[in-house]
Symmetry: C2
Subunit: 650 residues, 2 copies
Amino acid sequence: MDTFAVETTPTAQEMLDLEKNEGKAERTKWVLSAPEPPSPWRELMDYVLPEGGKFHAKTGFNPVLTLLQQTFPILCWSRNYKATKFKNDVLAGLTLASLCIPQSIGYATLARLDPQYGLYTSIVPPLIYAVMGTSREIAIGPVAVVSLLLASMVTKLEDPVENPVAYRNLVLTTTFFAGIFQAAFGLFRLGFLVDFLSHAAVVGFMAGAAIVIGLQQLKGLLGLTHFTKKTDIISVLEATWIAVHQSWNPQNCILGCSFLCFILITRFVGKRNKKLFWLAAIAPLISVVLSTLVVFLTRADKHGVSILKHIKGGLNPSSVQQLQFHGSHTGEVAKIGLLVAVIALAEAIAVSRSFASMKGYHIDGNKEMIAMGFMNIFGSFSSCYVATGSFSRSAVNFSAGCETAMSNIVMALTVIITLELFTKLLYFTPTAILASIILSALPGLIDLNEAYKIWKIDKLDFLACIGAFFGVLFVSVEIGLLAAVTISFVKIIITSIQPGTEVLGRIPETDIFCDVHQYPMAIKPSPVLVLRVKSGLICFANANFVKEKIIKQATEEQEGNVEENGKTSAQLVILDMSNLVNIDISGIASLEELHKNLVSNGIELAITNPRWQVIHKLRLSNFVGKIGGKVFLTVDEAVDTCLNAKSGTL
Amino acid sequence: MDTFAVETTPTAQEMLDLEKNEGKAERTKWVLSAPEPPSPWRELMDYVLPEGGKFHAKTGFNPVLTLLQQTFPILCWSRNYKATKFKNDVLAGLTLASLCIPQSIGYATLARLDPQYGLYTSIVPPLIYAVMGTSREIAIGPVAVVSLLLASMVTKLEDPVENPVAYRNLVLTTTFFAGIFQAAFGLFRLGFLVDFLSHAAVVGFMAGAAIVIGLQQLKGLLGLTHFTKKTDIISVLEATWIAVHQSWNPQNCILGCSFLCFILITRFVGKRNKKLFWLAAIAPLISVVLSTLVVFLTRADKHGVSILKHIKGGLNPSSVQQLQFHGSHTGEVAKIGLLVAVIALAEAIAVSRSFASMKGYHIDGNKEMIAMGFMNIFGSFSSCYVATGSFSRSAVNFSAGCETAMSNIVMALTVIITLELFTKLLYFTPTAILASIILSALPGLIDLNEAYKIWKIDKLDFLACIGAFFGVLFVSVEIGLLAAVTISFVKIIITSIQPGTEVLGRIPETDIFCDVHQYPMAIKPSPVLVLRVKSGLICFANANFVKEKIIKQATEEQEGNVEENGKTSAQLVILDMSNLVNIDISGIASLEELHKNLVSNGIELAITNPRWQVIHKLRLSNFVGKIGGKVFLTVDEAVDTCLNAKSGTL
């Protein structure tokens, strides 16, 4: 505006000044007369009931149909479902099944259940998800991390070797609780709870869990009979060391390692040549078939190669009677259910969101949670343990060109056929192969690139990542998670109460004031000190520090001016509040003390652009009156007005 | 700027536009080329070593003298100390002593120690504080809340009735630890730890503690012999109910209540007529003298009025040998010491700051803590328990016209004389009087006005206040504090991750964009949607919610425009980042998803005025590149540029 001022005549200039001042006064009035902001209760209600309870009734007139379509998205997409899509889905579903069957058996052993429970879990949950879920690429079934989590936590309550039935009942009850929690999260719009696991924490946790799972496979790979129940790296390595010295079986190891190499090589080939990705996808199934044949033909099981033996055939039996709500462990089981629910949701939602963002459609987190919840609740009634979306299988599903959740249905049907017809063929499957299939899926859980990116961008986030990683690796799965969540929240607190101030200066040719360190070309408007608080809050934890910092800066500035100009110039401190989200009682008290102290040193205080909650509280506590109404909309206006007032007085 | 534009010729207008655009491009470059912000470690160092380790050497050439003067402020103020000041200080000191002696005895019994320990505590700590402290009005000695805290916590370790010596030793050791912690807080500049007790929490805690202390006085006032060790209101009322039905002494009660009325009436008179404040100040001493005389003359002690009996005369004995560092309780005692240290500092610093702000001088929190620490360390060597600044006595000291810490010295000398000469006279002092003196000091701890103010200004702060109050009252002192600290920090987290967005509009006749709800006169620049995140952080806990909110708002706005204009107008979302203090990996990932989603709906995304840490991270993660460099310094420039670019394309 100053560049134009030269062109106008003096009279016009005065007129403009007058207008400008009136405008300023008017705007100060606007700042001070803001309507009352919404109360905390109101804001909470807005958050919980963002729609005001009403349904989106876009499709028209039938509320029942709308509700049904909202609950069962399959009713929407099935209407436009075409034969070409179906062909793609069948191909993807079959590819998925070829990977899913060996993985399910492997993860069931990781969860210390009989192999068929993994297959059961690949039937009911995918079918229910296909009806209720909104993601098109996710592959539902048992996953490694959840299996590990269940095994490590439920084992503390009941020994899976001594009381396999009691252990299984607890796992099924945990699944039921996990489903209830997941559905409740969705129904009560508590999806944000899952966000409390920050991305950095999930990266660290997954990497740690992958290593822990890998170490657990040493048992199967080396054919060990005695092994520790603990999951931390030191206990496991110690147990392995001791067990290897007692007895181990080299054939198991050779068999496992050679097929692991085979699977990894096919994966490498599949990554290099995208057309051969199906080779990587069916490699585990090929390994199972080949190794079973080898063992059957050589009868290696008589020479110490451990085999799966009998897998119970037939479809999922009902397990409603096996859920336990009256035992001594119910509280513990509910707690484990909560933890498992959160981890399972974190994995599933990360998977579905990443593919949805890739294909450009929208995932409703709360609806997803309801679908996950129901699939686990019904799963727990039909001998399934906790299912969720698998990282590795969803990627295969995506690469295989799936179009809708139909691929999950195809996969479930394939698993049903397997259970009905082919379980006997798996009698001679060596357990070492299961270990190598699990091991081959682990590298996908360790994302070194992402960890490096986190380190590069945000050192404190990396701390949460590393905390989760080492916590899982050296202590236990729960401690790792706890460490990560704690670090993440402490980081929020530290950032929010970060004490300290920034000196602002005017960006050349504008009215804008910015941090002089961020913008070295910004010019400080002497003899005015324009400050901004670094954090978004002035509260009990930083108010006093901020106050003392400002007093120190103001007096130093004053002394500096005295030295430069040789006279005590009346000073002004402008506190830019545009970034302050909120202030509390202690903060207001500190501002009052700051004002008193500055006044006693002959320095005035003005504030600019306070936000809604802040100006409301400052008005209520009469701080505005105490500083003589020196509240402005912009720093520029504050500097102008105060300097004009000064030059008028002098 | 637009108002001027009319006056210039078209050619000039074009020239200006050109200049304007060049300026904009230049400024966008400034935003993007900000230097690297300081690392977290650097910021931590700046906080811990704000002076870079150097001393303020204002007074000149002798560094030893400067250091001495900094450590012992008495060396500064004593040089200008005049006779008139001394007269005022002596008067204030004597008034203080008349209140301090009965209170000290009362608080010692509250702390379950022999009466003389209260007097000891009024000698050494005030003398040391007078030499090292910077506050001029604070009155040092035993206080009610700290006495209660010690009694309620140390009693759990050792029974004061069965093992009085062991109990006393633990109290002295706690005092030593409290002093060590306080000095350490000061030396390592950890003063902010005391700020973690928010003002609201302190108000609630003090009120709760006052009621608990008052309930404890029922024992003395009713002359009960059996009483509970617990402090919560339910246990105490129950114990009183039972004890009263067994045996109580009405004379005790009548004596106590009548003198309580006398003290309260004098206080009322003193408040009405400021000149008579000394009456209120010496009323407790008068009560002690009168009641002692009454009991001595009527020998009421033979009729069941309980009296103090023998108080050991003579100065503080050494207690260095009684500190216990090898017992089984050392860890517990250190913990109690830490808690007591924080509470004592919170009270003292609140007192000294409020008077300093009233008289307009500056209190150095860290120096105060060192002084408090040393006075308690040396106190623990000379049979004193934890001393701190007393609310009630500091107010009396101020009203009596004290000028410097000399009034504390005069008070201490008076207490020394009392201990040497007059302890025998206190033989017949009834304990009910001590109870009434303590009770009379309690209303000062309950600040209903402040509580109402907190309720009025900040509902969530009031929750912390009420949490502390009920926690202390119904559970225990520690739980009350824990509740208050927890609520305070949860409040910080909630405020910082508050999800949601504000729609911004242009304030008439300016380039400024503000919340349209706060400024109803602001005009939304259609078809552009300008948004700002409500909190100062976009992080894992709110990033996803914010993303979905923005997508929803943008698509609704788009639909609205389509309905109004009948054609799909290309949309633009501008995210004003001026209030964002920081962003984390999850936040950046959400912004990327937001951008992808908006683009797939034909909406563009621009960001304005990101702060230092934010633009640094956005640059590192290449988000700036992904949104096509649409980064501007102000919302106004973003709106102009993007609309011009659009109209160019159409």
